[in-house]
Amino acid sequence: MADQPFIARGFHSRRAAAPPGRLPPGQYETRDFPVLSAGPTPRTPLESWDFTIRGADGGQSSVRWSWDELQALPRETPTVDIHCVTKWSKFDTRWEGVSVDTLLDAALTAGVADGAFVLAFCDGGYTTNLPRADVTGGKAWVAFGYDGAPLAPEHGGPARLLVPHLYFWKSAKWVRGLQLLPSDEPGFWEQLGYHDRGDPWREQRYQGDP
């Protein structure tokens, strides 16, 4: 079955082809921005919001930024394609945020214990795990702006992780920090059957996918 695809009788594409190389396997392009989350949208006032990087020493070492401190850091405005495991992809989304490189560099300089993996943690209890290499090297941001406006709560505002080269559940909404870890620990969806890495180009949707 894997070698010989099953042809769906009478099925034809009804969509204009996406530009070559932009749509990962099994995805389709949408112009909307669908919302997916497992529970109510948390609402944390900016006065009590902070972002913390905890070290791989069990969090004994850590660095924290208030909302204002985060806003004062150098900003970037990535324009990226995003890919949701529920099959939609959206091209050329415009974000504003702080590179995770900036935050991690500051944390490590301040003596926070380094680790090969991170677990992003969020308001509402959501977590997701990522190799450290997937959030460094200009590939990930803590984003607080979308399409020229503050990021809306249902899309993860005040701030979400943005890791566009992986399926979008890795871009944790309502993010409050990163826990550095010596080894990989599955997050919320990863414990419920979703892939630990989630590369859309390799179609790593669920545990057991190659």
């Binding site: 894997a2 769906a8 099994g26 109510p40 099959k87 919320f188 996918d209």
Partner: protein, 261 residues
Amino acid sequence: MSEAVVERVAAATPGPPRLEWQVATVVSVQQETPRARTLVLDVPQWPGHRAGQHVDVRLVAEDGYQAQRSYSIASAPAERTVALTVERLDDGEVSPYLCGVLQPADGVEVRGPIGGYFVWEVAQGGPLLLVAGGSGIVPLMAMLRHHARADVSARAAVPVRLLYSARTLDDVIYRAELEKLADPPQVEVVLTLTRDAPPAWSGYRRRVDRAMLEAVSWPSSAAPHVYVCGPTSLVESVATLLVDLGHEASRVRTERFGPTA
């Protein structure tokens, strides 16, 4: 731990088995509403599912073009076949195929079940509050059917209320079955019609709001398990209202459908 050791450990521990694509056979189809159709599937290697889970459907065309979408399972875990109810979106490409072209005895590729959070089992207990908008009723119907199949004492221990928002009475999916569940009452079913209601309609005729939720829901002190499924606008507002009414956020589970065209 050195990287070499990590790799050896990883290689020695086999990962979870892959969810493989399988060709299911359409046993029957049933038109539920003018826009929604149920496909009853025989899936040869079905591992079983929990109420609330979904499957991925893949369609491959002659020229190799493929499309995938996710659809909620409507059938109870104990049923031998797997039922999907699909709402037709005219500008889509998968839902018009599933709602129009696919016929009994046809094959269709599926893999699943998927999703382990928006699930409910009788053993979790109740009370159980279900809030549906439109075709968001589908995974909640699997929960209702699961409840209906439980033995009498287990069923009696879990009171269930369903608040279901639809545009018109004709858009109410599973209407006859819901009426049967409500009389004699195994489940309290409350409908609200947001666009158009028959002249004799005595029920709600507006979007779900705070007053409606207060009237239909148990108080937060009863700590119901709450499952909300529907379009984003409904799920956002209902989940926020429930938290405002004192329900613990961790007891309110949501599933939103984006466009699965």
